[in-house]
């Protein structure tokens, strides 16, 4: 990643300030090209969620089908997120400004406050896996468990390291990725090969997954639904790096490649854990391959989880800075810690991952639907000046700072999702819809369609929420 100015200079400080707040990152301040963005997004994907999602999908369908479902299901679920990436790349902002047209200047902050707890739970997942991995590995070497090898303590330690790197800022995060990504890629390929040879190709291809439902297609659809939900769960991350991308394309495609296609290809160890070892906890499954390989996977998990922690702490801190612009960066990062610590001690999100991911998708799906519809109606345009104007005469003020139609559409979308499928019990209420589209896609469609109808009736005729967009003076030249 290029540096566009000298360290310590005002330009550098301006750029760093923008990267840690709602201040838009100017086109001339962008640092991520296609490969940079793909790399940093891949580093975020190769994490606890990769192995957990793989284990849950492997538990449901045969291995070859699991790889296809994971790669392509996640890719489809990610398409709304890629469009968010495109939008944030165009305007350089983050959710508190970018969501103002869909939900209002105050409404965008309410949405963020509502989804921050989801990402606190996400933050708790990598430390739990790290703690269990280290603790299990130490146990395999015959060391008696002590307080120092307790998984929760180890998890809290890695959370603290991740916090420190996030607090240090972009340059520390970039260096972390530069070191961890190649190591992780090499190790994950080695471990995949080791697991494939350990279990044998015939077993891998023909094994019946232990969680297969009496009607196999139901298992397939539940696996598909988890993947779509996994894709849509990146709503919060959609601005994180996209706003640093040098073009709309370099924001759009890395999201689909890294969090979709690569996700499926690299999830093989997790899939095998669920499918053949028959456990949902990748730590247990990876421990079964034993020997010196336990050290290899420990290294991989350590690197994978530290980058995941950094990614989540950064995104929550960025959201907090968007809601409370006067907050200091150190305080924003510190506020991001207590709830994850609570859920490291009581790891519900980790142990009930499949339920957690689909529950959150029932809310994030409709948000994505509303976003997509408004963004396409406005041709992905945003008036930044109006997006930070919370005055009554502001273009995105709507009703007391809230766009009620956006919120109504979310409620409709979530209701549709829960009418189709109960993500907590995996009970299918309307098989006719679930067996064709799952739960999240209908919730996106219902939320988006509701918003489209309401916006056409109440917003467009009065030109509310669709202000004029200032035009650049010239189409050439990098800056004034």
């Amino acid at each position: 990643m290029d540096s566009v100015s000298n360290p310590g200079s005002i330009e550098e400080e301006r750029r760093e300030l923008a990267e840690k707040s709602k201040i838009p990152v100017l086109p001339t301040e962008r640092t991520l090209g296609f490969w940079d963005h793909t790399g940093i997004a891949t580093a975020g994907a190769i994490a606890t969620w990769l192995f957990l999602t793989g284990a849950w999908i492997g538990m449901a369908v045969p291995v070859p089908i699991a790889i296809v479902v994971l790669a392509l299901g996640c890719t489809i679920g990610l398409i709304p997120i890629a469009f968010m990436g495109r939008y944030f790349a165009r305007w350089g902002g983050e959710h508190s400004t970018g969501f103002a047209p869909m939900f209002g200047t105050l409404g965008a902050k309410i949405i963020l406050l509502a989804i921050i707890p989801i990402y606190w739970l996400w933050t708790s997942i990598p430390p739990v896996m790290f703690g269990r991995a280290v603790s299990t590995t130490i146990g395999l070497f015959g060391v008696q468990p002590t307080i120092l090898t307790h998984p929760a303590l180890l998890g809290i330690i890695i959370l603290a390291i991740g916090w420190w790197i996030t607090y240090r800022g972009r340059s520390a995060m970039v260096w972390l990725v530069r070191i961890t990504l190649p190591v992780m890629l090499i190790l994950i390929v080695l471990i995949s090969v080791r697991m494939l040879t350990f279990y044998g190709w015939d077993t891998v291809v023909s094994n019946t997954p232990p969680g297969l439902a009496p009607e196999p297609f139901v298992s397939f659809m539940i696996a598909f639904e988890i993947c779509i939900a996994g894709g849509i769960s990146w709503v919060g991350n959609s601005a994180e790096y996209s706003r640093l991308a040098k073009s709309e394309s370099t924001a759009f495609w890395p999201i689909l490649i890294a969090w979709g296609l690569m996700f499926g290809a690299l999830a093989i160890p997790g899939i095998l854990v669920g499918n053949i070892a028959g456990v949902l906890d990748p730590v247990e499954g990876l421990a079964l391959i034993g020997g010196d390989w336990t050290i290899a996977y420990l290294i991989m998990l350590a690197f994978a989880n530290i980058t995941s922690v950094v990614m989540e702490v950064y995104l929550v801190s960025l959201m907090l800075m968007g809601i409370f612009p006067k907050l200091r960066w150190i305080h924003a990062t510190l506020i991001s810690l207590p709830v994850p610590i609570l859920f490291i001690l009581t790891p519900w999100a980790y142990d009930s991952y499949g339920n957690f991911i689909t529950v959150t998708a029932s809310v994030l799906g409709p948000i994505a639907g509303v976003f997509l519809v408004h963004a396409f109606m406005a041709r992905f345009n945003l008036n930044l000046k109006e997006a930070i104007n919370s005055a009554k005469e502001g273009a995105y003020y709507f009703t007391k700072g809230i766009n009620p139609w956006g919120f109504i559409a979310i409620v409709v979308g979530t209701t549709v999702a829960l009418l189709i499928y109960n993500p907590l019990t995996a009970e299918i209420h309307i098989p006719f819809i679930f067996n064709k589209l799952g739960m999240t896609i209908p919730s996106i469609l219902a939320g988006g369609l509701t918003y489209y109808i309401l916006a056409r009736i109440f917003l467009v005729p009065k030109k509310i929420g669709f202000p004029e967009i200032p035009r650049p003076r010239k189409a050439t030249g990098a800056m004034q």
Binding site: T75, A89, F220, S247, P325, R471, R473
Partner: protein, 61 residues
């Protein structure tokens, strides 16, 4: 971030928002992107339908 800030965040926000439209926008998505997205969608949906019906049917007829 240094403790001694040279830049005031509130003023910086206002200035950059006012000034943003004076910069050449980042390069937009082009026709090639839309074609690629169309291919991605068709291939993804096609393979998923195949995996969920024909392929799964081979495993569990």
């Amino acid at each position: 971030m240094s403790q001694e800030r040279k830049v005031d965040p509130a003023a910086e926000l206002k200035e950059k928002v006012e000034d943003y439209y004076n910069y050449t926008p980042v390069k937009p998505m082009g026709k090639r992107d839309w074609v690629l997205l169309g291919i991605t969608l068709v291939v993804s949906i096609g393979l998923l339908v195949f995996a969920g019906t024909v392929w799964l049917g081979w495993y569990y007829p």
